[in-house]
């Protein structure tokens, strides 16, 4: 039986691993190599690293650091941030990533998702959607453009139809809050897509992950809880397992 995944999702900023709070402020977590090594030792199901310098400042993604991180990972590694061309994808995969996450480029140009998945396979293409609740309505938030008036589920369907293999769905409002996932958001997605949805933003305790998956998430991503609380990825998996949600044995 296929298992539900618990995935640390961290940022790469100023050559360090960092965590954002509602996409605004950043707290440094540690060195990229040692962070990856610790996650590998803790047997996490997967690791997502988003290069925030590349996406915010238009820099090329730092493939040297990606190589260092990949060298520590004996589990799947997803890299995102600042990927704008087919060549960018090629260089990130060559550096040792297993999947890439597209955000701004996919929002601007849907055909890029199709090109990327045709070239590298759907299994390799994650589309990342950042969502903000504006007066009760969910809209897209983009680092460069701000709030964009598109329905997140419609956008996810378009990504799916163009070959995305997974959706990374992040609630900007919940990001770094440790107040729990945005369950209203994931309920909108439940049963509406044929590809897995990884829900991100807000996990503060293991029971938050249980609620996320019960409400439709295929996998949960988090950072704050693993760095600023006593809970580990295994604690989260234990809680899922206790609630009859299949997780990977470790």
């Amino acid at each position: 039986m296929l298992k539900h995944r618990v995935i640390p999702c961290v940022l790469l900023k100023d050559w360090q691993i960092a965590k954002s709070i509602t996409f605004g402020s950043y707290r440094t977590i540690g060195h990229p190599t040692s962070t990856a090594r610790v996650y590998n030792a803790r047997n996490v199901d997967e690791l997502i690293v988003l290069d925030i310098d590349a996406s915010l400042n238009g820099e090329k993604i730092n493939t040297e650091i990606i190589t260092d991180i990949a060298n520590e990972c004996f589990m799947p590694l997803t890299i995102g941030g600042g990927i704008n061309t087919i060549d960018d994808i090629y260089s990130v995969l060559s550096a040792g990533a297993d999947k890439i996450s597209l955000n701004s480029v996919a929002l601007k140009d849907l055909s890029f998702v199709r090109k990327a998945s045709a070239r590298f396979g759907s299994q390799c293409i994650v589309c990342s959607i950042d969502v903000k609740n504006i007066e009760g309505e969910y809209k897209i938030f983009n680092q460069q453009e701000g709030v964009v008036d598109i329905n997140p589920l419609d956008l996810a369907k378009q990504y799916q139809d163009n070959g995305a293999g997974e959706i990374l769905l992040t609630s900007v409002d919940s990001d770094g809050s440790a107040n729990g996932y945005d369950l209203e958001l994931i309920k909108l997605f439940k049963g509406r897509l044929n590809i897995p949805v990884i829900l991100n933003g807000g996990m503060g305790k293991p029971s938050d992950a249980v609620k996320a998956i019960e409400n439709g998430a295929d996998a949960v991503a988090a950072a704050y809880i693993f760095h600023f609380s006593q809970w580990t990825p295994n604690d989260v998996k234990l809680a899922l397992s206790e609630n009859n949600i299949p997780v990977r044995s470790s």
Partner: protein
């Protein structure tokens, strides 16, 4: 690095990231060489064929690099231990159907077919952690308990009438073949190099197989 260990070659045929497989050998103290040079393949004690991509492209690349005969000679005739991973498992079959029907290496009487899951509401590709159920013995599962989870990424799967070579099946809509052993030929649908401790144990067991 253990200089006394057998020499292992990872076949470079431009199908996917071979570095992650090489790394998995490195942590087991084994310096596996990535190469498509015939003399390196002939002098190696063991041969690894990884790969991500389509069956058709994989066979085409093996053909272009003139590797089909040398692999047959070293693995089928000289019985060198062989490890096939994902596409490297598929290619040892008679036939694959990904992007049109393609003749495979035919070391095993098998076909590689697409998941037919239309009625199951299951996604293709099958991506993620799934468990294997042991069937017949496989040397490389030594010290790994039954039902362990490994990391899978694939849309096509192996199908064979040689039932006695099936080492495990995995459930995804159907029970498909997730690993085989036919004498010196070991092949896995999942990625040991991405499956952490248990996956690295498979690599270690392969390193320890008597060449």
């Amino acid at each position: 690095m253990n200089i006394l260990s057998d020499s292992i070659v990872i076949i470079d045929y431009q199908m996917g990231n071979l570095r992650s497989v090489q790394k998995a050998f490195e942590v087991n103290g084994c310096n596996a060489i990535i190469s498509n040079d015939h003399s390196v393949i002939k002098s190696a004690d063991k041969i690894v064929l990884p790969g991500v991509g389509s069956f058709k492209d994989g066979m085409q690349h093996l053909k272009n690099l003139d590797l089909i005969d040398v692999l047959h000679q070293e693995i089928v005739q000289n019985k060198k231990p062989f490890l096939g991973i994902c596409l490297g498992m598929h290619l040892i079959a008679n036939k694959g159907y990904e992007n049109g029907e393609t003749q495979g290496l035919s070391w095993v009487d098998a076909e590689v077919i697409r998941f037919d899951l239309a009625s199951e509401y299951l996604n293709i590709p099958h991506i993620g952690w799934n468990n294997v159920d042991y069937k017949n013995h496989n040397d490389l599962y030594e010290s790994i308990e039954d039902n362990h989870d490994f990391y899978f990424v694939h849309s096509y799967h192996f199908s064979t009438c040689e039932k006695d070579i099936v080492s495990s099946t995995t459930s995804y809509g159907i029970d498909f073949i997730s690993s085989i052993q036919k004498g010196n030929i070991y092949a896995f649908q999942f990625h040991p190099e991405k499956s952490q401790i248990a996956g690295l144990k498979i690599i270690e067991n392969f390193v320890n197989v008597k060449a």
